[in-house]
Subunit: 227 residues, 2 copies
Amino acid sequence: MGRPAKLSRERLQTAALALVDAHGLAGLSMRALASELGSAPMTIYNHVAGRAELEVLVVEAVIGEADWSREPHDDWRDAVVAITVALWRAVRAHPHAIPLILTRRSRSTALLEASEALLDALARSGRSGRELLIAFRTVTGFVMGIAQAELAGPLSVAADEPADVVIGRFRALPRFRYPRLIEIADAAATSDAEGELRAGLALVIAGLDAGLDATPSPSRRRLPVAQ
Amino acid sequence: MGRPAKLSRERLQTAALALVDAHGLAGLSMRALASELGSAPMTIYNHVAGRAELEVLVVEAVIGEADWSREPHDDWRDAVVAITVALWRAVRAHPHAIPLILTRRSRSTALLEASEALLDALARSGRSGRELLIAFRTVTGFVMGIAQAELAGPLSVAADEPADVVIGRFRALPRFRYPRLIEIADAAATSDAEGELRAGLALVIAGLDAGLDATPSPSRRRLPVAQ
DNA sequence: ACCTGAACACCGTTCAAGT
DNA sequence: ACCTGAACACCGTTCAAGT
């Protein structure tokens, strides 16, 4: 069979992502990848230091699909939305890779790029230093948390079990004990994911907006802050 | 070496968590756990269906450490803060278990309990149905995302490498290319984690507060802001 | 410079057998 | 009801050897 015998980082990358997409994280192994590419397991080590680096390659491939810079945005809020929605879409397109993304992202230059762009937008809200750090942590935490929650949270929809199974499990909970959970399980059954993301993001941005009133003086604030 | 030969779910649970805490996720294996408890690997299967169930046990142990119900809170904002901070502290005390928690939490009854309590607090902000779902997703996404980000994000502090190594890696980035990342890396080096969490949470809650103005139907109300 | 087979030290889990 | 050893089908990675 005319198998291209030449291996390359790029071929490893796309084949690895394909494996993860098709068979889940457990499907990604040096041996499986090698046989997929028609070569010996050890050949892979000529292009990649080990499994960890392979995983970073997968993360890069996923994040690389995010394209947030179609047009520039005058309003920093629009820029924040554009970047986070683009990231979320890319991540969501590869649900099996999410644990990898959460775990290996600090090594991905594609994500560094996105992070810098997001920071740039947030800085335009008038923040710097620690305030900027907190805004950054809040937004990225939110996006990653939402992406993850959808996959594996109590109301998971994207996991390996079909949505109605998960929601059914919730409906089966003792009604008197978890009335609220059952209420939102019903709501979750009929709502679209991106709509939820955007609505949540709007809340976060509203918070970022409100936070601007109180910021400059470090001592007293109007927000329910710790201590 | 008077080893108690009797195995029990509870002994498995604490031993498994101890293994994860001490040696990381990779340190948790049926075989390692068995030898830790002085029994044969297969004995474990008499108390637990398999590795997946063992992992849920670990999640339960971690979440079970969160205690948010010391006193009731009149203000829903205070309740939200109390619950999320308690969860965050418990999770943060076991950083190696975080991937497990993100992945297996939908099976943990301890987390169901916490979720219901959080929903209860959020419902007191005047939300229900889809609005409640979105508020819930936003807050839980935020907390989990932050906990995870701290461990593995671009500014990770809790990973297996010491903080100064990570931050040093950032300082080594091309300054002209990632100026904002370098700026917050400096801020991250001197800031405390719980302070960041609470400040971010304050932003989210401010957003939840602001969101009340815009709500379409009956629950429009202008609550006096905290304090 | 790139590829590879054999081997090592691990996994989770099935099965049949013990008490 | 609880425990267990042997075995199966996997892992990632080292090493020595090939081209």
